[in-house]
């Protein structure tokens, strides 16, 4: 009997049980947010609105941002900058990782440089970008790429180096063309690490983009946060921050969905870590 047959043969929990488990999972997921929101709301009763505004006010500001094109376009601009920066860093990082995996000399040359880049704070890249570039978009793109490039390069390199030698040899024994080797072996083998790299870098990028926009942009969530700070509008600052948080949550959910679909081949143990 195969494992799949065994799974089919084993008594499955009823729909009520599944519903209960789903409900418990939803409560587990939502509970921390409810607790934090509750504490904030209680604090708003005792502190002035410029310190702890009511969540109702924050919600109203969120609605205004989402319903007004002039404001929502700022959110979209920031999202576009994050995605463009990540895509640029990913492509460049993948290229570097492939070169490093193929040649020891490249690895020995590029690895210290990327490590050096990793040590440079995001704010320093902002300053460099302002000095080196004129336009706002090139500046932000440069900052995004430079801050996320090392992580992408090292993560893709790790994935390439960690590929199963046995499986690679097996595929090589069929004498594939380079393109086919990439398609049937390398890409599927490193895809899980690439998705993880995107998930990790998405969080980093959303933090860095705000810093970049705060200093050098005339639009976007970071720029709007600066405006709220100048007028001590905490409700506005929180509402703009939540837009970014919402984007990260949506993007992570999409990546998780992609993971579930493309990695359905993975065995799932009944005992998890």
């Amino acid at each position: 009997m195969t494992m799949s047959q065994a799974q089919l043969a084993s008594p499955s929990p009823g729909s009520a049980g599944r519903g209960g488990a789903l409900g418990r999972r939803a409560v587990t997921y939502v509970l921390p947010f409810v607790v934090v929101a509750g504490i904030w709301q209680i604090a708003s009763l005792f502190f002035p609105p410029f310190l702890f505004p009511s969540l109702v006010d924050v919600f109203k500001r969120c609605v205004v941002i989402l319903s007004s094109w002039s404001q929502f376009s700022d959110v979209l601009a920031t999202v576009g900058r994050i995605l463009a920066g990540l895509a640029g860093a990913f492509l460049l990082g993948t290229g570097l990782a492939v070169a490093m995996a193929r040649s020891r000399a490249s690895n020995e040359f590029l690895s210290p440089i990327l490590t050096l880049f990793q040590g440079i704070p995001a704010l320093s890249w902002v300053v460099f970008a302002i000095i080196w570039f004129h336009g706002i978009e090139p500046r932000i793109f440069f900052i995004m790429v430079m801050t996320t490039l090392p992580a992408f390069a090292f993560q893709v390199l790790g994935a390439l180096q960690g590929m199963s030698r046995d499986l690679t040899e097996m595929v090589m024994s069929f004498r594939p063309t380079r393109f086919k080797l990439f398609r049937v072996m390398i890409i599927p083998a490193i895809l899980p690490d690439i998705v993880t790299a995107w998930k990790v870098n998405l969080g980093n990028a959303s933090r860095v983009v705000v810093v970049a926009e705060l200093v050098g942009a005339t639009g976007g969530v970071g720029y709007e946060l600066l405006q709220q700070q100048q007028v001590f509008d905490m409700a506005g600052a929180l509402a703009w921050t939540l837009q970014l948080v919402l984007f990260v949550l949506i993007a992570q959910a999409i990546l998780t969905l992609i993971e579930r679909i493309i990695f359905r081949y993975r065995a799932v143990s009944e005992r998890t870590l």
Partner: protein, 253 residues
């Protein structure tokens, strides 16, 4: 069949590996001469670590010899790597199935490399899975299959390309004896039916006696210590005698 027209030929082949911290390199294969005739089934018998898999990798073109000449069908399998596409098939020690592919997609792998059209590819793969008793499991991922089933898929993958040379590196060593015996019988039937040239690496005397028309015993580092022909069909007494000889030659029985 005589080895006068060898399809696989190794002449004075040596292979050394540089060992970290060691003054001299590790010699895995030492001036090996070996010939396999077309359509012949040769069993290479030797203890673990005697260089069997290194020989295997050199014939497969996955490793280059340090010295000497390896030729398969008159060409160098390492340098003329691409020209052997579809001509050499390998059954590895482990099943080596791609975990992201279903059983049928794994069997299709070699055919994809040969640019066989998708429909024909699928039909051939399905037929081989059916031949090896895996009907109904075509769309299962490897993790859902037992060890024996996975090894059947890997045998189907090797046969699907209809390569004329079959290299087998202890393909049944990870299986329990009952499953291994059943698979070995099926495997031998398929090899004989298709008249392939087969090189079968094993560390088991019984397995070598079963699969090989010729048996070569290797000593460490890989060099021929003894060679025997298995008369077809060998009687029980002849096999017992040969087993005793092979045991005496220093191989685990």
């Amino acid at each position: 069949m005589t080895p006068s027209q060898p399809i696989i030929s190794l002449q004075q082949v040596s292979k050394s590996f540089g060992k970290t911290g060691a003054v001299s390199p590790y010699v895995a294969v030492d001036r090996l001469d070996l010939q396999v005739g077309r359509g012949q089934m040769l069993a290479l018998l030797g203890k673990t670590g005697c260089g069997k898999s290194t020989i295997f990798n050199m014939i497969a073109g996955l490793t280059e010899p340090s010295s000497g000449h390896v030729t398969v069908d008159g060409r160098n399998p390492f340098r003329d790597f691409d020209s052997f596409r579809g001509k050499i098939a390998i059954v590895f020690q482990g099943d080596r199935l791609l975990p992201w592919r279903t059983a049928v997609q794994n069997v299709e792998l070699g055919l994809e490399m040969l640019d066989v059209p998708a429909e024909k590819r699928r039909a051939t793969a399905m037929q081989w899975l059916s031949t090896l008793g895996l009907r109904g499991h075509e769309h299962d991922y490897p993790h859902a299959l037992s060890g024996g089933m996975r090894q059947r898929v890997s045998i189907a993958r090797a046969f699907a390309t209809d390569a004329s040379i079959l290299l087998c590196d202890e393909p049944f060593s990870a299986l329990d004896e009952m499953t291994a015996q059943r698979l070995r019988d099926e495997f031998l039937r398929l090899v004989r039916e298709s008249a392939k040239t087969a090189l079968f690496i094993t560390h088991s005397i019984n397995e070598a006696l079963e699969v090989g028309e010729r048996i070569m015993v290797l000593h460490r580092p890989a060099r021929i210590a003894f060679e025997a022909k298995v008369p077809p069909p060998a009687s029980v007494a002849e096999r017992a005698e040969l087993r005793t000889v092979l045991n005496r030659k220093g191989v685990e029985g």
